[in-house]
């Protein structure tokens, strides 16, 4: 079965295609509340099925200095 590449910052992961994004994130131990997932620049939802050979890019959403400007 072909795999799916998942990229978060400088980390690359591989998971099996055919599973949902939600399941893939759970398998990788990535909290879905802390990332957004994009396919070719478009946002996708947690229930999206991952397709063979594709790359999903995750955008980390947490930031946190002491005093925001």
């Amino acid at each position: 079965m072909e795999t799916v590449k998942i990229v978060l910052r400088d980390q690359e992961y591989e998971v099996k295609s055919g599973m949902t994004l939600r399941d893939a994130l759970a398998k990788l131990g990535i909290n879905r509340e802390s990332v957004l997932a994009t396919r070719q620049g478009e946002l996708i939802t947690d229930d999206e099925i991952l397709l063979p050979g594709e790359t999903i890019r995750l955008v980390a959403v947490i930031s946190g200095g002491s005093a925001k400007a």
């Binding site: 802390s34 930031s63 925001k68």
Partner: protein
């Protein structure tokens, strides 16, 4: 958005965010179309999105960027400033740049080293400097209100930390609106305080807002990020937990949980302490003499 049991498409989501922001501005009586609003921008997703939303709503809004001189090996401050300038240029908006090292004489990391404030991290010095310079620029240029891009995750993390330590004074102070309690302070508002950080990132992506993706090099290992991660673990299991935590707190405050006898009086701090006037800058201070910022800058001279 599991906390709202709502899913929106790329066309309606930003529209919903703009409408909700207007609703929060009115609900918490933040400002009106007659007010001059100054948005503090950092080049990050939250503050640039806030500026974008207020601009779309037609408010009389300018931006201010505080250049801090933080490099981190990749020109963090320079890159952030360039993104703010590009954002303003694309929309024909006015951006003011305040050069902190020029005002103080040294960069923020250098200032932290000299003053030894903040346990080997410049975050405390940075926060103090930004607050001081933002108040000063807003007052000098006669803005009615200063808007910041704090989102719900920021507010929930602060609330979590203050609750763990029972910092009653800080709990009392935390609010979507901070009134000007002294002539040296400007009224501050947080129009994004009910949006999740994830929603803000989604808004920036959908709207095509270019923001600095890299974290401030000094934020690594920060307590705020740790608290946010803990709260996100809770949120993953119980959708809406963060929102409920924050909103329940605001409701409890409204019912008088943290009420203090001198609440809302000018010249009295949020924790009920008396505020004096700094003889050097005119800003507020809880002790007689120079304020914390001026004392810190004195050490550089």
């Amino acid at each position: 958005m599991r906390q709202h049991k709502l899913a929106l498409c790329a066309m309606h989501f930003p529209q919903w965010m703009v409408e909700q922001t207007q609703r929060f501005i009115e609900k918490y009586r933040m400002f009106t179309p007659d007010d001059r609003v100054l948005v503090a921008v950092s080049g990050g997703k939250d503050s640039l999105s806030l500026w974008d939303i207020l601009w779309q709503l037609g408010y009389n809004v300018d931006g201010v960027y505080i250049a801090l001189g933080i490099d981190g090996g990749f020109g963090y401050s320079q890159k952030s400033q360039a993104l703010c300038e590009k954002f303003a240029d694309q929309r024909g908006l006015k951006l003011m740049v305040i050069d902190a090292p020029q005002q103080i004489g040294v960069t923020i990391p250098e200032l932290a080293k000299v003053t030894q404030r903040g346990k080997n991290k410049p975050c405390s010095v940075c926060g103090l400097t930004k607050r001081h310079l933002l108040d000063r620029v807003a007052l000098e240029r006669k803005y009615d209100v200063l808007a910041t891009g704090h989102n719900l995750d920021d507010e929930a993390a602060v609330l979590f930390g203050n609750t763990l330590n029972w910092h009653i004074g800080y709990l009392h102070r935390q609010s979507p609106v901070l009134p000007a309690r002294h002539a040296g302070l400007v009224r501050k508002v947080k129009p994004l305080c009910r949006f999740y950080e994830r929603e803000m990132a989604a808004y920036a992506l959908v709207r095509g807002i270019e923001y600095i993706y890299e974290e401030c090099p000094h934020a690594e290992g920060s307590t705020t990020i740790y608290y946010k991660s803990l709260l996100n673990q809770l949120e993953a299991d119980r959708p809406g937990a963060k929102l409920s935590f924050y909103l329940s707190f605001l409701q409890a405050k409204q019912r008088g949980l943290f009420a203090q006898p001198q609440e809302g009086e000018e010249g009295v701090g949020a924790g009920g302490e008396r505020l004096y006037t700094c003889p050097s800058c005119g800003g507020p201070t809880t002790v007689e003499g120079l304020c914390a910022f001026c004392r810190m800058v004195e050490k550089v001279k």
